[in-house]
């Protein structure tokens, strides 16, 4: 493994900001190990995208993002031994491989009473408690820690339930979201009580309010920064965004996260002013239209780049929308606001979807990005172990195909005049997994990428002709 890692070429990033993420993640893992040794702060296993980041920060809890650690093992191509261990414990390989990797790691660490040998970046520390999140998004988020309790029976779990109204084309979600809001507020207040009990400290609501405000400003800043990628050529692609998602998903509610996006914003503006793109000669603009990436194969983004393809936008890990465009009630209560922010995010594309018969919010989001970022083709990744992202991708492509047809269509152009446009949009579905490298073949993947690029090129020539 060590030999193989040495031979592997490091992924080339387009931005300095993305290049700075590796050391940042390493430090965040090291800091959890330090916190464990010092014993002054409580450590919590938990999941990203649960709207509780600011609550944890306000209570001085050290979060251990367990999906992140599994992703690190995958990116370092060192997940297999943990996956195999989980499998030997009776967990099926077809379950979420983030969870399997984490469970294999935890069982090994608990059995040894210390970190497994050569644990990536020092390892994942034992938590004081675990905050799971039974939500529509993903079922391992509640089952993973229940399974982990087999090896850590003394570590308590608190589960926050975070639902949101499912899309119904015939009903305005705002008719019912008040019920959801009241329920989520209860869940989050319950979390605060649990944390107060665990830490023996009271929540400082002024501090929480400040952090939530910082979080809101970070959301807006991320949106504005990512919108800069509309520029032609695109200054930063999805390969980099798989790095720059780290402060968004793991450091929300910290000044460090805000400052990171300020720097990124400045860097992108400078690149745009210089006319500097992610690729030297941008020929194709692609949308990463769904699916978590294969963390061990991020070099594939460089391969796309080598063919003149850039990725100005992605739906994966863009877990923010501008607060000022959300139609949510104002409140001075930070917990109530967090609940509204959650509902505002998940229902952001509902209104648009209702206006287009047969559409769905996920499809509207794709359409918006395709139009805003001048997209030529869509790439998706079906990670076999992640049902959450997997389900619906092909259906979404079928819906898109109804709009982006292989025949010239009349669209409203400049000054409201009708123009004939060829709006066809080829798609590529890559297949492997988030961290299970046995599901991946570089040769086959790159063969598919080559064919996709040829398809884009053939369309480009046909349009030019």
């Amino acid at each position: 493994m060590a030999e193989e890692q040495k031979k592997r070429k490091k992924r080339k990033t387009a931005t300095k900001a993305a290049a700075s993420i590796g050391p940042m993640v390493k430090e965040s893992i090291t800091s959890t190990i330090r916190a464990r040794e010092e014993g002054k702060q409580k450590i919590a296993y938990t999941f990203i995208v649960c709207q509780h980041d600011e609550i944890l920060r306000a209570m001085d809890i050290v979060p251990v993002w367990t999906e992140n650690y599994s992703g690190i093992c995958g990116a370092k191509r060192d997940a297999e031994r943990f996956l195999q261990r989980a499998e030997s414990l009776g967990f099926s390989r077809s379950l979420c491989t983030y969870a399997l990797c984490g469970l294999g790691f935890d069982q090994w660490r608990e059995e040894l009473g210390e970190m497994p040998p050569d644990a990536p970046w020092g390892g994942q520390v034992r938590p004081d408690f675990m905050i799971s999140s039974g939500q529509i998004l993903c079922d391992p988020r509640s089952k993973w820690y229940q399974a982990a309790q087999q090896f850590m029976p003394d570590v308590p779990i608190y589960n926050i339930d975070l639902p949101y109204p499912l899309f119904d084309p015939k009903r305005d979600h705002r008719e019912v979201w008040g019920y959801y809001h009241r329920y989520i507020v209860k869940e989050l207040r319950g979390l605060v009580s649990f944390l107060e009990e665990q830490t023996g400290k009271k929540m400082d609501y002024d501090r929480l309010r400040e952090l939530v405000d910082l979080g809101d400003r970070t959301w807006n800043l991320i949106h504005e920064t990512y919108e800069l990628r509309r520029a032609v050529p695109c200054p930063m692609g999805t390969g980099d965004a798989m790095n720059t998602m780290v402060p968004m998903c793991f450091m929300m509610g910290t000044q460090e996260a805000y400052d990171f996006y300020l720097d990124l914003n400045k860097e992108l503006k400078e690149k745009i002013a210089r006319g500097e793109g992610e690729v030297e000669e941008e020929k194709y603009r692609l949308l990463w239209g769904g699916g978590l990436p294969a963390w061990y194969a991020l070099n594939d983004f460089n391969y796309f780049n080598s063919k003149g393809a850039s990725f100005p936008a992605e739906t994966t890990y863009r877990m923010v929308v501008p607060l000022y465009e959300m139609d949510i009630p104002e409140t001075n209560d930070p917990i109530e606001h967090l609940a509204w922010r959650w509902l505002g995010y998940w229902t952001f594309w509902y209104e648009k979807a209702r206006k287009r018969p047969g559409s769905e919010p996920d499809v509207e989001r794709l359409i918006q990005y395709i139009e805003d970022y001048k997209i030529d083709g869509v790439v998706m990744h079906e990670a076999f172990s992640c049902r959450t992202w997997h389900v619906g991708l092909i259906w979404q492509l079928h819906q898109l195909a109804k709009i982006y047809k292989p025949i010239p269509v009349l669209v409203l152009g400049k000054e409201g005049k009708k123009e004939k446009k060829q709006r066809e949009l080829p798609s590529l579905v890559l297949e492997s997994d988030i961290i299970d490298i046995t599901s991946y073949s570089e040769v086959d993947t790159r063969n598919k990428i080559d064919a996709f690029i040829e398809t884009l090129e053939s369309l480009r020539r046909a349009r030019a002709a």
């Binding site: 092909i394 492509l397 079928h398 195909a401 292989p406 066809e424 080829p426 798609s427 579905v429 297949e431 599901s439 073949s441 040769v443 086959d444 063969n447 598919k448 080559d450 064919a451 996709f452 040829e454 398809t455 053939s458 369309l459 046909a462």
Partner: protein
């Protein structure tokens, strides 16, 4: 006279086509484990059949998974573009190409000019490729080329799992022991493969006319099963194995003609039939 060559090094078979206004020679042979040493031999044979010298070939394109191991090719193009171009030339009305090869299968949507507009490939599992039928033929002691005809004699095709080739093999053995007639088992196997391929193809929008290529197209039982699954007639080229190589040669011709229009000749490699270097 300008001549163009296409070499398609697939996982199971290697194919070469030499083209002028029409096909002047074609060769089909097994790829084998040492395909890196094979491309030059296939080319030699194609040239011999055409009665041509290598120097008389204006442009050579290689395709297929072994395309990088054709050192004398002027350009490498994926099998998606080549199958699309090849089928488009034979059936201008074709809009969907399904290729069932030895180790993978693919579906391609094409436009009226034989250009690919979208595609999908199954390369993860033998259960979606010709290998599925090969393995079962071997288990039953039946010749591969007889499988199609045997399946047409079935009256009650058996239900066989298409999740995994090895499981299917075990299932066939068990059903055989239960007394299920061989034609019903063979028909069941064809239906299982057709189901898997059809599900893949339906992930794209399957539009008529549908053309089947690759070794799978030579199997009447599979053709029937796939036609039923897709609910439409399926067209088959006169020699379904060479559409990729034909498309490669045609794409070479397109490149040359485009270059000539602009008053230039395209850049080509030195014409020597060397072996690929083994790393």
């Amino acid at each position: 006279m300008e001549y163009y060559a296409g070499i398609d090094i697939g996982s199971t078979m290697t194919k070469a086509v030499i083209l002028a206004e029409e096909i002047v020679a074609s060769v089909i042979g097994p790829t084998g484990p040492e395909h890196r040493r094979l491309a030059n031999k296939v080319m030699e044979e194609a040239l011999r059949r055409a009665g041509l010298a290598l120097e008389s070939i204006t442009y050579i394109i290689s395709t297929g998974y072994g395309r990088i191991n054709v050192p004398f090719a002027d350009k490498q193009v994926t099998e998606i573009s080549c199958h699309a171009r090849g089928v488009g030339s034979l059936f201008p009305q074709a809009r969907t190409v399904i290729d069932i090869g030895g180790q993978d299968s693919k579906a391609i949507t094409i436009d009226a000019n034989g250009r690919p507009t979208n595609f999908i490939m199954n390369d993860k599992c033998a259960a979606g490729s010709g290998r599925f039928i090969e393995v079962i033929a071997d288990s039953l002691g039946v010749k591969l080329e007889e499988m199609g005809d045997i399946s047409l004699r079935s009256t009650h095709p058996a239900k066989i799992s298409n999740i995994c080739t090895i499981w299917a093999q075990q299932e066939v053995a068990a059903r055989l022991a239960e007394g299920v007639p061989v034609p019903d088992l063979v028909a069941g196997i064809h239906e299982a493969l057709a189901d898997r391929v059809a599900r893949m193809a339906k992930r794209l929008k399957v539009e008529k006319e549908v053309v089947l290529t690759g070794g799978g197209a030579k199997n009447k039982g599979l053709l029937k099963a796939l036609s039923e699954q897709l609910g439409c007639e399926i067209l088959v080229p006169p020699e379904p194995l060479i559409t990729g190589a034909l498309g490669a040669a045609l794409l070479g011709k397109d490149i040359v003609q485009k270059a000539l229009k602009s008053g230039k000749r395209p850049e080509t490699k030195k014409r020597t039939l060397e072996e690929a270097k083994l790393h």
